[in-house]
Symmetry: D2
């Protein structure tokens, strides 16, 4: 039985991790952490857990936790995980960080986009980007897994095969993304009140959303660019807030290279994802909808080739709290501990 601790269990991603781990046959949660609610019962904050979780919330003591846990999940604001991690902790336990602290390999990119000094740059090199479909083997032996963000998982997986096989012009990429409101977190902010979000759609973080460099870095690797030495894809990423609880949809546009046809596009997806348990290729002219993946760890992907404009439009969808956060973290945990990758994740999407 894997002993798991969660720092930040009372945010939406943390609570989703609780939901998934409770249904995981080989894991048990031994530490429910929360800065804001320490001392209270978890099920008083999340009343869906009445009769399922009896534990009391504990403070954010990664040191103490590491002595009890086989794996620590940090579902906390940017900067916190980097400020707590050290060699002693890593000697005792595995770390799966759901924040952005270890996702970007270049400290200056992190500091520039997040406006934060990085407290543990010495681990950037070692940390493995936790996208199992791309880095499965490296994750297995990692000490720190940098669990990707929701927008990035969706965007990268949707575009990866096309970039990898060189079918599109790298600098023509535009990602117009849409997210449910749980992505905004559980903080008490006027802008996230029901009446402010309901019956509206808005863009935000236009041309400056922090997930941009994460997507650029990963797609640069896919394109075979020398990212460390300054080569990089540069793209537009525009997120929008949608009045729904869960779901990410990434509508991706790119100019096709001369002569690329539909078969090549379909082939690229097959080459990349055939056999992937959590990626469902809907094929040409069939598009995902967030409702079909809700509650599950699936990413659905479809595409079309627009001959009029010479562009491909590829669309991906996932549940931001599952494949975009907690589900992917469990998938990474399974890899770290040599378990079947889909253990505890054979979740059937809930509809309606």
């Amino acid at each position: 039985m894997i002993r798991a601790g969660i720092i930040g269990s009372t945010g939406y991603a943390g609570a989703e991790l609780v939901r998934l781990l409770l249904q995981h046959p080989e894991a048990e949660i031994i530490w429910y952490g929360s800065r804001s609610f320490a001392g209270q019962k978890f099920s008083d904050i999340y009343r869906n857990m009445v009769s399922l979780v009896d534990e009391t919330l504990r403070a954010e003591d990664m040191e103490a936790l590491s002595e009890e846990a086989d794996v620590i999940f940090t579902a906390t604001p940017q900067g916190l995980c980097a400020s707590l991690v050290n060699e002693e902790i890593l000697a005792r336990t595995k770390l799966i960080d759901l924040s952005a602290d270890f996702r970007l390999k270049k400290v200056e990119v992190y500091e520039n986009w997040y406006k934060l000094a990085h407290k543990a740059p010495q681990y950037l090199e070692e940390a493995v980007y936790g996208l199992p479909e791309l880095y499965r083997d490296r994750i297995r032996s990692a000490r720190i897994v940098a669990n990707p963000g929701c927008y990035t998982t969706c965007s990268i997986l949707t575009l990866y095969p096309l970039v990898k096989e060189g079918l599109i012009e790298p600098d023509s990429i535009i990602i117009d993304a849409k997210s449910g409101t749980s992505g905004a977190g559980r903080g008490a902010k006027v802008q996230n009140l029901f009446c402010e979000v309901n019956e509206s759609i808005k863009p935000y973080g236009v041309a400056k959303h922090r997930h941009t460099p994460e997507i650029e870095e990963q797609l640069s690797y896919a394109a075979g660019l020398d990212y460390q030495n300054g080569e990089s894809i540069c793209l537009n990423f525009t997120p929008h807030l949608v009045p729904m609880n869960r779901g990410i949809l990434a509508t991706c546009y790119a100019k096709l290279k001369e002569g690329v046809d539909k078969e090549q596009l379909a082939g690229a997806y097959q080459n990349a994802y055939a056999g992937e348990r959590f990626i469902r290729l809907l094929g040409e002219d069939s598009f995902p909808e967030t409702r079909w993946v809700e509650g599950s760890n699936f990413v659905d992907i479809g595409f079309t080739l627009d001959e009029r404009t010479g562009r491909v439009i590829a669309v991906g969808a996932l549940d931001n709290l599952v494949k975009g956060a907690a589900g992917q973290a469990v998938q990474n945990m399974n890899l770290l501990f040599g378990l079947p990758e889909d253990l505890g994740l054979r979740l059937v999407p809930v509809f309606p």
Copy 2:
């Protein structure tokens, strides 16, 4: 492995049954039935099932199905199940009917409220009302289980202990119920379009909703009345349509009998439900919300005693597609086949 067939698998309740049975370790679905979509793939209708269900939908042939199945679920419009069932079928297979055909013991009550002639009144006596918390033992040996409706499960379980222990005036009961829109089914009706339901709440079926006599009959038994000979509780039941996908909330009012106090109320709930896996008693002055049970088989119940008016207000909540339909049907299946009652139903509520 229990071989299960579903007649009416493409309605919302039928599709939820698919979701639950796919996650059940001791059951497999061998027949996906649908009148409207026979010949099409199930996953073309419910695209959440892509990669999970490969089967093609088949017509409503209960005769043929009974030769292959250990249990048949009918999630069909009123009247259909009664028109198909016969001795040969019942000799071969168990029947769990999610429609109203076998819920009411009196054929005249059925015909009066449903405006339908009953095609198989000879089975009314034998059929067992499929509310496990009340009829667990009888369900185990039934041939026909009449799976209760969503409003009724919620209303009966909320009021049962109070009626059973004689704490309230039986004829003072008023149930003001609220339902998510999946309860209205998947038929293409203007009144259920997004723009007609969204941003509104309305009552419907006021003083004539068909779930009324079902609640009255069951509470009459609880009160020890001689229902067969005309004694019956008579109550008000008013359903409302709420702009959300899932969930039933039943706000129940009743006059307390002279001298009844809080401890007696709390005691009645304990007496009735202590040890029940799927009933969560929130206790006094703590009330359920539908979001806390979504996706699960739980019923949450809370109450308060209003000393000013001498009334109890008891509130129950459940997910209309799970405990109000498919989950309860699986619970009944487990009883029929001697399995642990919660097998395949250890579902953690999904929030948000």
Copy 3:
């Protein structure tokens, strides 16, 4: 041109008042007040007002405001208006208070339900309850109009004719009410976040919501009880939060007095409301839905007589921000200044 000032213009009710007054031909807003946002532009807080309102928000100085304004609207938390009002102010200007400070005639009832000491009990006697359909004449000459709450306006208007004509048992009244989320205000609270409210319905304030005594007092007057000397109707009022922006629905239950028939019920509504511009009687067996009144000053009312239980179920609906707050305040302003009662209020409900 009436010069109007609004204290508390950045709450939802205050902002709705701005919307309505901007469209009023005989009023102009000369003071946009806000404690939280003083110094900022109103249209930076409410961006629907870009190009329509250029003013900057000012602090809550009722003294100064009264020197400029013909009428002051207070759309502020309980207690504030009572703490600011005095003779000098009332000598210069009319006051329409959208808070609860002057709605209840008995100071002890106010202090008991609101848990606040009343700062200006000397005006309780004089203040007129601002429900024009009941107190039109008195409002015309008032100095202080106590604008009723949203739940209360809906509940009182729905039940008033039945109580007035003695058709129902006064102590049998149960009001099960449902509200859109704008009624909860614009404060940054976790419980009002989109993800907490969406896809759920819940009761709150069960048996202790502050609108209860306001309804009881007004219905006691209708019943001809000697409220000042302790006679009072005592009823149950249970509010619920619904995932929609606007709208109140009040489902009201009461036992009919012996022999009362449908014609008497219909007659009572006609007697009370024939000729009322803002009350739409839908008649027997036809029920209101909140979507049909959204954005307008209408109250829609329907009812049914349930012969099985001997109860009447009467249902009212209104827009909580219009007839339940700002619209009614404008209606009161029209009365105070001798204008046609519906001036600026000929709003066609917005659907969908």
Copy 4:
């Protein structure tokens, strides 16, 4: 008083036209047309109109209607208006067509995208595209006004200044648009049921939505291309369905021409729209949200220049039923009859 008739008054756009014309001081509706509901009362279909509209719905007889009306609005499916119009009708009355029949100047483009034979191509040349901000003068003397679609109004107005002043590469344009569900109409289709739309976002009509050629044609004119002789902008347009009633958001991307800076972008918008009553320029780095225009005739536009990618992201928002349909139709009517362009359209956006 302008005598107006509406063919197709029971769709969402038709009903919105009723709402607006009821509040218009110089127009009266003399004909409520409906194929599906002829013979029924309008207020039985749209119960928000109880006490406001007493008329009965009449069949689609444009001939007869033209003898009574000064202006006819057709809010009907594609093809109907073209099949009814003739010289006699146009001699008697003005025609404002809310369908697509007269929006495209080339019959082959219409027939290719709409898969319909055009029944009145002889009027294509004469009909004036009803976008007042671009064609104000020509509209004044038109006999047929082709009222633009919702997506197109939003997309064209957002991009027009940039194309007009040659600041962007015309063939780099990508429009990612999002719409509320009222845009899908009031037809009883499963895909538009509450439970199918709620809690989801999806793209549709990818690379083949019918509004594409309309946008291309208008922007081609703006770019000074010889559209009649085959020159045309070619762009990507991808609509998405959002779980909200009203609203269009168009997120537009384009490559800037060498050396273009922010001031030029801001200047282009000023040049095009300074003084426009219904266009609100939010300026650089400030973006529209659909909630801020709901219920009004406004179009809000903001933009940013992304120096990293050399692209402009310009975003427009409007209410699809007002500026995207009925409001614009009224604006056109005002022009046709020499009235102030904003008469009856000084609508303050409704929020929340």
